[in-house]
Amino acid sequence: MTSYGMVIDLERCIGCQACSTACMEENNVSLDHIWNRVLTEGGDNIDTPAGKYPEDGGDGTGTMSMEYLPMACQHCDNAPCVKVCPVNATYTREDGIVEIDYDVCIGCRYCIAACPYNARAFNYDKPVHVPAEGTGNVPERPQGVVEKCTFCTHRVEEELDPACVIACPADARIFGDLDDPNSTVSKYVDKYETEQLLEELEADPKTYYVRGQMSPGRQRPTTELEGTRRKKTSIPEGGEQ
């Protein structure tokens, strides 16, 4: 079985929002929404720390802190959104990705109420883009449906890593098959201190966060899904370039 998951190394993440922006561009996300948000864990404002400034000249790394938390759909194995959808528009695929069939979605938004990660967005209005024609490789969603991170299924099915993964300049995001013990994601979950968000809710997310000791990150510069033919661009038919 395949079970796609994401490992995000928070020791490497520098909060640059490249993943967030690449997602918006790839998936043609309306300016009203965000699928992948990068939160600041620190002060009340974005890019600010918590703690006390060491006016005594001390090393405030002990008393001050600022970390970043990129957060999108966690693709839970026990997804609350899947359970509550009255029309089966949201479901879990064989490969573990939680997907929405926009044609079936009735916009009731039970899933938004159910998701504890605030991962979903509802198209209250028609989508808005700059440029107006939109961007990326996926059609826009119509007014009236819910949307969220898809783990870039359109790329995964073409043996490409998701857009956020290849955009990260800190190599902090790794994607792969959690059911394959030799995949990087499996090895990192095994070797490093990882956590799942809101573990106590038992949604069993397939997004794992490394905290504490830094991993080597995504060590491949190329775009292919791990274990598939090597690719240097996001043109599936293009072959290795």
């Binding site: 020791e11 520098i14 909060g15 640059c16 929002q17 490249a18 922006t21 690449a22 918006m24 561009e25 790839e26 300016l31 002060g43 404002n45 974005i46 600010t48 720390p49 918590a50 400034y53 060491p54 006016e55 005594d56 000249g57 001390g58 090393d59 405030g60 790394t61 001050m64 802190s65 600022m66 899947v82 359970k83 509550v84 009255p86 029309v87 089966n88 695929r93 490969d95 997907e99 044609d103 009735i106 009731c108 440029p131 024609e133 990326g136 299924t153 359109h154 073409e158 955009a167 300049p169 800190a170 830094m214 080597p216 990150g217 510069p221 190329t222 240097k232 661009t233 996001s234 043109i235």
Partner: protein
């Protein structure tokens, strides 16, 4: 596919849902069979256009030094997406949030569409006070625009001199358009600028090492991972240059390197540090001297290195000059220094790259002269800077100063990775000198894993296309001198100006109001740019430039050893043209047409003619070529200094405020606690480089605006509350020169007494004022580098009658929803 086509309407499903749930006897909790899709044979496939794209070679080229190579995805004639390209040397794959968002820059609503003339400007009647925010423009043809520019340039040359025409090249993009621009300025004999920005630390460092200008050089970037200790000094690596260095510095850390961050601010880079030295603004020179003091006191001296490669053993006379061989040997000269050879018991010539048992300390009598060693002079200079003595002054605890030097001195190769923060204090060059000496004492040059600065090794193509033989050449003035020429106070006042990819005068120069006033003396200002920047509002003739992805181009870069090519994704939008197109036609009008090339491909081939390692066709096909000759480890062999050694004693030193700088003497300007205006303006003001723009580029990008929608003042809550300012209140930042009204942002990462407004915001982003209305033009005698951070301000709550509605009650932009990609207007 719409739901209508599928034959299922939402209404019918809604009506059905309740009935279905009821039939299954489930109240509204888990609906087992409806939720279970695992029996589907094939996963649902989202419609995608991946295979319909074509990839065009690209690269980004603002002045972040990255020139990151990119893949530009084009479909149906429009750019859909930009991704980081995997270059020939795959270790250099990189890009940043901004580079990845070029789709919104290429199709930005602020793009200039056609040539324009300011409505109240005419040759002979320039009405120069009409420039500015309220200036209005009318569309003209390219022919008319270039005629105006050429005619005015010729007239000014006639009435004044060729040097009275200023060819201003900004740093917005400097690939082949820049080459053509320089060639034209040289042909004309006009004025060009040399830098008064970001050269402070580099030039101070250069006096010791022989290299440095914009920042300071270090090994090739892939070597950073080998460093054992990296002291990031005055550089917010993970915010302002993360595209090139983030993953490599992180890898170094993962390999076990100790990361020390020296910065008054707790920012993203500080957050990754093992040790933070929260230095007070402007006191970096003092801190560096304190580290030198520790290196002596705890003895981390690399004696072999000092003897072989530095002027540590060089004998210094009482008058401060070096003893030269010509003074004591018959066959000597007046350049080669002298050392005292302890084994031989006599003075000997001190040649480059030569080891000897030279004395590093002590006083000697040579031919009746009392001399001491260079290293002794450095030790004397640092004697009063013990960490215990300096801790309070510099704002760093003594033990942490010691720990940093201990790591640098005992953990093997490592060093100091500088940013451009310290540059922006008047006497920042003295820090450059001091840290160069510290690293010399520790032997941290020329090995794998050494870090001596912030500019990693780049790669270039060979070219002999540049100046025209026999051309008069341009007059170069440092930017402060440019201002003087604009104000009319020199031999050749500036009376006409062509600004290319520059937002200097109206947005980026310190003491902005003075520049805007000076511009009133200029009869004709032409501005060529991609976007409608604040500088465009000060133009008489506006020339729309095409976006980078609309033009073929080639470039090398510093910081990364590749040469790269970019192709055109599509034709330039509207009537925009690439810079060479404009400049060649201007050159033709000025009579230099035979020296310029209209056809861009022919031009690129000419530019690359002298390159023997690869051809233009090869470069065009591959997109990137790795420059293998680019050194991996620098500082091998003789240093490019008069002695061929690291001149940790510099006899040719300049003076500052009466202090001769043979050895460092840390100095400060506004950051002194006893500075005359310290009571009235108690806050030090920096304008850091934002993550959401590159200087003033990438303005008005919706993806970036949603993250940082308006200019803000980073201020510590303590400082804010003392002034009755709540988080999110609008405030007025002011001093004698001007003001800026912005939103306050509580930020505990800022040392109390220090505030920040990111630089690069456009004048029209401000409710009132501008950050550069607060900065000044005071520079050091030696370097003349603008000191943007060496500024004092006060902050108060904004008056109630200030109209903040542009942010508090914004109107929806009228271009939203309209196509910005061409069409009618």
């Amino acid at each position: 596919m719409s739901s209508e086509e599928k034959g299922v309407s939402r209404r019918s499903v809604l009506l059905g849902a309740g009935a279905a749930a009821g039939a299954l006897g489930l109240g509204g909790g888990y609906v087992a069979s409806l939720g279970d899709r695992s029996d589907m044979e094939t996963p649902h496939s989202l419609e995608n256009f991946l295979n319909e794209n074509k990839v065009v070679h690209g690269y980004c080229s603002p002045n972040c030094r990255g020139k990151c190579q990119m893949d530009v995805y084009v479909r149906d004639g429009q750019i859909q997406k930009v991704e980081p390209k995997v270059p020939e040397n795959e270790a250099y794959k990189r890009s940043c949030t901004l580079g990845l968002s070029h789709t919104q820059r290429a199709y930005n609503p602020t793009r200039l569409k056609y040539p324009m003339k300011r409505t109240d400007w005419e040759p002979g009647n320039p009405n120069t006070t009409g420039r500015g925010e309220d200036a209005e423009f009318e569309q003209i043809s390219w022919g008319e625009a270039l005629d105006y520019v050429a005619d005015e340039m010729r007239r000014v040359r006639q009435e004044y001199s060729p040097q009275s025409v200023y060819f201003e090249q900004g740093s917005g993009s400097d690939t082949i358009g820049g080459t053509t621009f320089g060639r034209l300025a040289g042909a004309f004999g006009g004025t060009m600028k040399s830098w008064s920005i970001d050269i402070n630390v580099g030039l101070g460092f250069r006096r010791i090492t022989g290299a440095g200008y914009f920042n300071t050089p270090t090994n090739q970037a892939t070597d950073i991972e080998n460093a054992n200790t990296i002291v990031i000094w005055g550089g917010n690596i993970f915010e302002s240059r993360f595209q090139q260095d983030a993953s490599k510095v992180l890898n170094a850390k993962e390999n076990g390197a100790k990361i020390v961050v020296v910065d008054p601010v707790y920012n993203t880079t500080t957050a990754k540090a093992d040790l933070w030295l929260p230095v007070k603004p402007g006191k970096d020179g003092h801190l560096a001297m304190s580290m030198i003091n520790v290196a002596f006191e705890e003895d981390y001296l690399d004696r072999e290195f000092l003897r072989e490669r530095t002027l540590g053993p060089a004998l210094v006379k009482e008058d401060g000059s070096l003893l030269k061989t010509g003074e004591i040997f018959d066959d000597g000269d007046d350049e080669t220094p002298v050392a005292y050879d302890e084994a031989a018991g006599e003075p000997v010539p001190l040649e480059p790259e030569t080891y000897g048992e030279y004395a590093l300390f002590g006083e000697y009598e040579v031919d009746g002269m009392t001399v001491t060693t260079g290293l002794t002079k450095v030790r004397e200079a640092a004697a009063d800077y013990s960490p215990e003595k300096m801790a309070n002054y510099v704002g760093v605890q003594a033990e942490n100063i010691r720990q940093t030097v201990r790591w640098l001195g005992t953990r093997g190769p490592g060093g100091i990775l500088t940013g451009l923060g310290v540059d922006r204090y008047v006497y920042g060059h003295i820090f450059g000198q001091a840290y160069a000496i510290l690293l010399a004492m520790l032997g941290q040059y020329g090995q794998r894993g050494c870090v001596t600065g912030g500019i990693t090794q780049g790669g270039y193509f060979a070219s002999d296309y540049g100046a025209i033989e026999g051309a008069p050449g341009a007059r170069y003035l440092q930017q402060k001198g440019i201002l003087e020429a604009l104000e009319g106070g020199t031999d050749h006042p500036i009376k006409a100006m062509y600004a290319m990819c520059s937002n200097f005068t109206a947005n980026q120069m310190p003491d902005r109001q003075r520049w805007l006033k000076a511009l009133e003396n200029v009869d004709m200002v032409a501005v060529a740019d991609i976007q409608h920047t604040p500088n465009v509002q000060y133009a008489d003739i506006v020339l729309p430039a095409s976006h980078w992805f609309e033009r073929e181009d080639i470039t090398g870069t510093w910081t990364q050893p590749h040469v790269r090519y970019r192709g055109a994704a599509h034709d330039p939008l509207w009537e925009s043209k690439h810079d060479n197109w404009m400049l060649v036609r201007l050159a033709e009008r000025l009579g230099y047409g035979e020296h310029f090339e209209r056809d861009r491909e022919t031009l690129m081939r000419k530019i690359l003619e002298a390159e023997t390692r690869f051809t233009f066709d090869e470069l065009r096909e591959k997109g990137t070529i790795f420059i293998e000759d680019s050194p991996e480890i620098i500082w091998q062999g003789e240093f490019n200094t008069p002695s061929g050694r690291l001149e940790l004693y510099d006899e040719d030193a300049p003076s500052e405020k009466g202090n001769s700088l043979e050895v460092p003497v840390p100095l400060e300007s506004r950051t002194r606690d006893d500075y005359p205006t310290a009571d009235e303006y108690p806050l030090t003001f920096l304008q850091k480089h934002s993550r959401w723009r590159i200087h003033s580029q990438f303005g008005h990008m919706p993806w970036m605006r949603r993250i940082h929608p308006e200019p803000t003042l980073d201020i510590h809550p303590k400082d804010a509350r003392r002034r009755d300012i709540e988080d999110g209140d609008y405030v007025r930042v002011y001093n004698d020169r001007g003001e800026a009204v912005v939103k306050a942002k509580y930020n505990k990462g800022y040392r109390p007494g220090l505030v920040n407004i990111d630089q690069g915001w456009w004048s029209d982003d401000y409710i009132q004022g501008h950050h550069n209305d607060l900065t000044h033009l005071d520079v050091s005698e030696a370097i003349e580098n603008f000191a943007f951070y060496d500024v004092r301000v006060e902050v108060e709550a904004a008056p109630d009658d200030i109209d903040t509605s542009m942010y508090t009650n914004p109107k929806k932009a009228d271009w939203l929803g309209e196509s910005t990609t061409g069409g009618e207007n």
